[in-house]
């Protein structure tokens, strides 16, 4: 006799947190601090998503293993249209691959820390090893569709960030969802907009400082608490069996 163990479970998540590499995030947002705070708040999984770079992800992944928190590697990419798109991956290597692509796609404007903030790179053990020189807040020379294609090719999933609010929101910039792309999940701010019916609406903190990381209570239904389980839930979207509770 063979039997299948079903492991439906609810994971407490915050899938949009910036590290100190993002200039707008505070210097205390080191990867180990983020994951440590997530552990203290009782979260099962977090995603670190810096603007257009994956350089602080190795530290976040290592911290996750140490603290027993699942860390989903992500990047918040700025498209040519100035739309923010969260690209999530199962494996660190995939995020690093996207990071390498983006490295060639941003204009080479030097960051001015006094205006935008520091862009602090840390090693795996959270020690600062330098400041990233190029300003990470500019748009990449890639359309929304390009980013969708590249992310899929690498094996990840693209989730438009804060679609209903903010200067870089897809709905505010374009007014409508791109018709030809398969986007089962979007990140929203506040109450689920009617226009997003039929999609999984993620709520995340977009934290730029430690206290802003979500408290335990916002949950995602997953088959397993792992990057694989979370990516699978994002792919399922609103289909049977997946719902984000706590909205």
């Amino acid at each position: 006799m063979s039997w299948v163990l079903k492991t439906d479970m609810n994971a407490s998540v915050d899938l949009h947190i910036h590290s100190c590499l993002s200039p707008c995030a505070s210097d205390e947002m080191t990867p180990w601090n983020i994951v440590g705070m997530a552990m203290l708040k009782g979260l099962d999984a977090v995603a670190v998503c810096d603007h257009n770079s994956a350089l602080n992800l190795p530290a976040a992944i290592k911290a996750g293993k140490e603290y027993g928190v699942c860390v989903v590697p992500g990047i918040e990419v700025t498209s040519r249209e100035d739309v923010h798109l969260l690209c999530y991956f199962e494996a660190l290597e995939q995020a690093l691959e996207l990071g390498e692509v983006l490295n060639t796609k941003q204009p080479n404007i030097k960051n001015k820390p006094s205006l935008f903030g520091e862009q602090i790179i840390v090693n795996e053990d959270d020690e600062p090893v330098g400041n990233f020189e190029r300003l990470l807040l500019t748009a990449c020379d890639l359309s929304l569709e390009d980013i969708y294609t590249i992310t899929n090719e690498i094996g990840g999933i693209m989730v438009p960030a804060h679609v209903n609010k903010g200067a870089n929101s897809l709905m505010i910039v374009l007014g409508m969802m791109p018709q030809d792309l398969d986007i089962p999940t979007v990140e929203i701010f506040g109450i689920r907009p009617h226009s997003m019916l039929g999609r999984l609406c993620l709520t995340s903190s977009d934290a730029h400082q430690l206290p802003d990381i979500l408290e335990k209570g916002y949950q995602l239904e997953v088959d397993e608490i792992s990057t694989k389980g979370i990516i699978a839930a994002l792919r399922r979207g609103e289909k049977a069996g997946t719902a984000a509770k706590g909205q």
Binding site: I109, L115, T138, A139
Partner: protein
């Protein structure tokens, strides 16, 4: 031409008195995408926009723009004006559209 002359000729509202009106206007630009302006901006530009997010000031400062001209009487929040005063960036305002403003700026001889 200095921003003082722009204010007179285009009948602009001065929102940041502390930033003065002596900056030299070397060119003009019309764009509402911050990332775009970040990539294309040059020193002394008069930037016409309806975007009033606080990062407008950071972008204007990054490239040492002569001024930001807010079109269509868009509201500019106090924290944005405070930041502009801090950075020494002049913010001017007009009820006219970006289109009309840029046309008028061009007629004044700002052809870059």
């Amino acid at each position: 031409m200095r921003t003082r002359e722009l204010v007179e000729k285009l009948d602009l509202e001065v929102l940041v008195p502390k930033a003065g009106l002596d900056a030299e206007v070397t060119g003009g630009y019309v764009c509402d995408l911050l990332s775009w302006v970040m990539a294309k901006g040059t020193e002394g530009m008069a930037w016409i926009t309806i975007q009033t997010h606080i990062n407008v000031i950071a972008v204007a400062s990054l490239h040492d723009f002569s001024c930001v001209i807010v079109a269509e009487s868009c509201e500019v929040a106090k924290d944005v004006l405070d930041k502009a005063a801090e950075e020494g960036i002049q913010v001017l305002r007009s009820p006219l559209s970006s289109y009309k403003l840029s046309g008028m700026l061009y007629e004044l001889g700002i052809k870059n």
